[in-house]
């Protein structure tokens, strides 16, 4: 009996498809650690976690798999992910990259899908540029907390950025202004406010996007997708911007110079 018997509805050959899949997770904090755990349960065969940070006490409110002992030992977050993944399925290949992903970017070039679970708008933009350059579907998770009139508003989104389709810049998810203002945006509820349950919701949605992309279970293969999460009403909806996805022809990655390594001749 296969451990994946109860997900056999995903479609004939899905277990083999998932086992052969090579997925990178950039950022192993609140969102990325959820993604890592779920990919392990699902049976993705090759996972590459990227994060240079070590576990701190303030991570324990949300970092899946991390323990008090990891705080004492200052364990690398990618090692927490590897331990968690291989405790679930020892056959999964895990190649951790305990560095800023920009220092090991070539290890991203041949992956099949990238999950971007980073806080910074600059990094999200850079990751999407790399993903477009190497024809990699990029699944971006973003979450933040704002103070509005004495209350706090939890919001977030999951975006599937597919080569050839509208990008984060097309949809205004990352703009020059947001890059410039990002420090102020995280100030409202303390430095980079993050909590476990919205991280979990968004990570689950992101993994769902992957599953719809690579398995035939619901025949709803969408080339581009923007889901919005309202943490106060606890609802998820297709963004109002979704209508634009079929209309916009992305002008930001349309040149030959945007593909592959521009310095190789």
């Amino acid at each position: 009996m296969s451990k994946h018997q109860r997900q056999s509805f995903l479609g004939q050959g899905s277990e083999k498809t998932l086992r052969s899949l090579r997925v990178a997770i950039v950022g192993l904090g609140g969102g990325g650690s959820h993604v890592a755990q779920q990919l392990a349960h699902i049976g993705v065969g090759d996972i590459r976690p990227f994060d240079h940070d070590r576990v701190e006490e303030t991570n324990l409110n949300r970092l899946i798999g991390a323990t008090e002992d990891d705080v004492i030992r200052k364990t690398l977050k990618v090692d927490v992910a590897k331990r968690l993944i291989q405790a679930i399925d020892s056959k999964i290949e895990v190649a951790p990259y305990p560095t800023q992903w920009q220092n090991a970017a070539t290890a991203l070039h041949d992956v099949d899908v990238i999950f971007g679970c980073v806080d910074s708008f600059i990094e999200r933009r850079q990751l999407e540029v790399l993903a477009r350059r190497y024809l990699i579907p990029y699944i971006d998770i973003g979450m933040d907390v704002h103070e509005i009139e004495g209350y706090y508003v939890i919001g977030g989104q999951v975006f599937l950025s597919m080569p050839g389709q509208p990008c984060m810049q097309c949809l205004g998810l990352v703009t020059d202004e947001s890059v410039a203002q990002e420090a102020a945006r995280y100030g409202a509820a303390g430095d980079r406010a993050q909590v476990v349950w919205p991280n979990g919701v968004l990570a689950s949605l992101a993994v769902g996007v992957l599953m719809q992309l690579v398995t035939p279970w619901c025949h709803a293969h969408r080339e581009s997708l923007l889901l919005e999460y309202d943490g106060n009403s606890q609802t998820v909806s297709h963004s109002g911007k979704s209508d634009l996805l079929d209309l916009i022809r992305c002008p930001h990655f349309s040149s030959l110079q945007d593909l592959g390594d521009p310095f190789i001749e």
Binding site: Y134, L135, M162, Q212, G260, I264, E265
Partner: protein, 170 residues
């Protein structure tokens, strides 16, 4: 050495639309994928499909042994594009069936004859040959550092659905 090819589903569809067209006398059609290369860790390549170049009817030669014998004009046109831009050139043809295709003896012999000529224009880049089927693909690349033919370890059709075809034979 890990070498992979990625093309968008749209580019594959363009290639398929061309390759299934009957030719006045050739048994099958061929084309060329123009790819931008990039490095893959630790020492491999990722070839990224940019365009598909059709071989025009006039550039085929009547040949009773080989399914599609293209003339020097077809090669010359592909090379002209690679002169102006640093492309890896991938020869493509279709085996019109479902399932994993394989290179025939003639496919292997002929590709070994003409693919290394692409190095005359872009000596530092890998070039190759791919066989498509209706739902799969396989291919080889002539790698410039080792100067020999290596199998493509994976061919990805990037779109929705995302299809990753791994080489399970070599």
């Amino acid at each position: 050495m890990n070498i992979s090819l990625k093309i968008t589903a749209r580019l594959r569809a363009r290639a398929m639309t061309d390759l299934v067209r009957p030719h006045p006398f050739a048994f099958e059609r061929v084309g060329f994928l123009l790819c931008r290369p990039g490095p893959a860790a630790p020492d491999g390549w990722v070839l990224l499909g940019w365009d598909y170049q059709v071989v025009k009817d006039d550039d085929y030669e009547d040949d009773s042994i080989v399914g599609a014998m293209f003339g020097s004009g077809a090669i010359r046109k592909a090379l002209q594009v690679a002169y102006s831009e640093p492309f890896s050139i991938i020869h493509v043809h279709l085996h019109d069936h479902m399932g994993t295709p394989q290179f025939s003896y003639i496919d292997a012999r002929e590709s070994a004859r003409f693919v290394p000529d692409f190095w005359n224009v872009r000596p530092n880049l890998p070039h190759g040959a791919v066989v498509l089927s209706r739902n799969s693909a396989c291919g080889y690349v002539w790698e410039p550092k080792v100067q020999k033919r290596l199998p493509l370890q994976s061919i990805s059709i990037v779109g929705a659905p995302l299809r990753v075809i791994r080489n399970e034979h070599e």
